[in-house]
């Protein structure tokens, strides 16, 4: 184990970690809600296509929707029940999206039948990739990028390093931390599949130094057959180290080319919870029905790490855990990158690693007063990819989106929010960049 290595990426910030409330709490199963709303698109790419009808009874783990092409994944029934409706439903993005309304049977045993598993010994790379897609696995760290797509190594490229991302740099969240402590066998099984598939010579499990128990546990449990290739690497705590590019740089020293994929520097990065799901689901041929979610924040009474069914509405979750009277804001994920939700009818999805709720005491009634940019350069020293957020912010205010993209590398921004976090003028820089990026993409498409 590489303990307390100095290796990290340049720049970045140190937000309050706020993980102590839930880091020590074991994962517990959350109650099944009276109804589930399951979006057909819980991943980047094309929505899945329903294979069930309204009124149809389904059993837990049954295929609800199949992938539409390679850039898409399957969706399985999170619970045994009846499909009430297939139609539009609210989503975290604010738009109505197509989805399936499922009403779980209260009296069901909720047992998941096994399917045709993927045998580790005999399976080919393509069979493992197909198995991952069929299991509906996406990046559980929050990006929700279809995992099998990034594992498809393009012709002529080689994967040198497999990186298992257990950094969890987002404040408040402890799902990956608990999964590492409680599901090490699943993680190692997942690594076996991934090593076989990628043919990587080396595998790092990247963990930040604020989770020494998880690093020690994985080191202690490291099976004999993996000891030669797998290294548990402890990294200094810094946000956004969990971002794919930053983690690759921290561990290998390589920079992923602008606009390129990690495979171009011989690396593939998979989130640790995703790896655990691969290791858990592939041998038994099941699909994702649930995931571990940290329900936390000052407004939450019974904070914890819960195994929650995909499609459980936020309202049900917050009702179960209890909230403070002055609850004011709820976000999907943590406070650095998590979007605030406008409605509690929105369900948790595969990419939801946390539900964080703030009260009025955190930030008051209105956002802090915005001052003009004083060119303090805090953002310049924070940006992990060396943009000049100050200048981009001024251009964004003038609507010069094309200039931002063409001359100032706007499209390289991965919206970590470090610039907004440090800005003493409280300029919503990263929000300006989200808007600008959307405008540039739209202009390019038309």
């Amino acid at each position: 184990m590489r303990l307390f290595s100095k290796k990290t990426f340049a720049h970045g910030v140190h937000p309050p970690e706020a993980k102590e409330a839930t880091a020590g709490l074991a994962i517990r199963r959350f109650p099944f809600p009276p109804s589930l709303t399951i979006p057909l698109s819980q991943h980047i790419g094309k929505p899945a296509v329903p294979v069930v009808r309204e009124g149809e009874e389904v059993i837990r783990g049954q295929l609800l929707a199949e992938p539409d092409g390679f850039m898409s994944v399957a969706m399985h029934a999170p619970a045994s029940g009846i499909v009430r409706r297939i139609g539009l439903m609210p989503s975290a993005s604010g738009k109505m999206v197509p989805g399936i309304y499922l009403e779980p049977f209260p009296g069901s045993s909720q047992e998941v039948p096994d399917g045709a598993g993927v045998d580790l010994e005999s399976a080919t790379a393509d069979e493992i990739i197909a198995g991952i897609q069929a299991a509906g696995i996406v990046g559980l760290g929050g990006a929700a990028f279809p995992t099998h797509v990034k594992l498809k190594i393009p012709e002529g490229k080689r994967c040198e390093t497999l990186i298992i991302n257990g950094v969890e740099c987002e404040p408040f969240l402890t799902t990956d931390h608990r999964v590492m402590l409680e599901q090490s066998d699943d993680i190692f099984m997942g690594i076996r599949y991934l090593m076989k598939l990628t043919q990587a010579a080396k595998c790092f499990i990247g963990i930040e130094a604020n989770k020494p128990d998880a690093a020690q546990h994985l080191q202690d449990k490291l099976p004999a057959d993996l000891q030669a290739e797998v290294e548990v690497a402890v990294l200094p705590v810094k946000y956004p180290q969990g971002a794919e590019k930053m983690l690759i740089t921290a561990l290998t020293g390589h920079e992923v080319p602008s606009g390129g994929l990690p495979i171009e520097v011989g690396a593939v990065v998979v989130n640790v919870a995703t790896t655990a799901e691969i290791g858990r689901l592939l041998p038994v041929g099941q699909g994702i029905q649930e995931r571990v979610i940290t329900v936390t924040g000052p407004a939450v009474k019974k904070k914890g790490n819960y195994r929650i069914l995909i499609g459980t509405p936020l309202r049900f979750i917050l009702d179960e855990v209890g909230v403070e009277d002055d609850i004011a804001r709820v976000f999907m994920g943590g406070p650095m990158m998590g979007p605030a939700v406008s409605s509690l009818d929105i369900p948790v999805v595969k990419g939801t690693s946390g539900v964080t709720a703030f009260t009025l005491r955190e930030g008051g009634d209105t956002p802090p007063k915005e001052y003009p940019c004083i060119r303090c350069a805090y953002c310049v020293d924070a940006c992990p990819i060396f943009l000049n957020p100050s200048q981009l912010g001024l251009l964004a205010k003038n609507g010069e989106f094309a200039t931002m993209a063409e001359e100032h590398h706007l499209m390289d921004c991965f919206e970590c929010g470090s610039c907004s976090f440090v800005c003493p003028s409280h300029i919503p820089l990263v929000q300006h960049f989200r808007v600008a990026k959307a405008a540039v993409r739209k202009a390019k498409a038309s």
Partner: protein, 340 residues
Amino acid sequence: MVSVAKTLQLRTSPHVTSGASVDLIMRHVVWALVPTALFGVYAFGLTAAVTLSAALASCLLAEWLLCKWSEQPSTLSDWSVAVTGLLYGLTLPPGLPVWMTMLGGFIAVGLGKHLFGGLGYNPFNPALVGRAVMQAAFPVGMTTWHAAFGSGRFSSVPSSLFTFPFAAPEYTDALTSATPLAAWKFEHNLAAASDLVMGFTTGSTGETSAVLILLGGAYLAARKMMNWRIPLSIFVTVAVLTFALHLASPEAYPTAPFMLLSGGLMLGAVFMATDMVASPMTTLGVVIYGALIGVLTVTIRLWGGMPEGVMYAILLANAVAPHIDRLVRPTVYGTSGRKA
């Protein structure tokens, strides 16, 4: 079961901040200047207190009036004008007629800041703009220095202080004295380094005590509210240049410690050149910017007609700061320097 039926606030992420804010930074700059200002009052007496108060009051008044006239909400609460007012006062010779001080305060805030759009848009340090105009308009008043630690400094003020506007002030020779830089330039008298460090010399209200200025600077640097690379770059440049020149010709050029510690170099390097708005943003940029200020200061002091050149050096460097930023843009991650 408690039902969650609240109005949810929609804000954009990140939902946490570092706690830094403009008014906090400005307040800390003011705190960092307090020891220097108090020492000025101690060294020069009531005169300095009057000059500092007049400078501060005129800047605050100008900010308030300009906001009112332009129908903008008052920006007094961001504390930036307090920094400008205090810095401006500290660069003035104590004993400058109050009406001149106040006129300069209006010019600093009006011409130096609001004409360009207010906080964040001023290409030059507003306090120095005010001082530069005063230097051009009132060369005698701005270069008549009162001796520090005069015996009656807490019981009386020089008559020049309350001269009527546009009347020529009268100075009593007994009270005035030459600054170390002028003494060196025109009389070839080199002040002792220890006096310069402690501030036992003549000069502007706030420029004499190197040790207190550095203390304030260290406080701000520790709180990351000042980019320490700027003063460091200035000091290194001035020290290296002067050391080389002094080595070549000890008769013609002063020593490096004298150059570093005399005049407004300390105050300028630590509190003026570091004006966030008017200095570059990148690490390499601020090093170049500091070096430029150092070279210009040495050039003006040694070969120019004036004994002091820090003010013009900083203003010139302010002017090129945006160009420095454009020249030395850092390489964006994953681009190896390629364009987008």
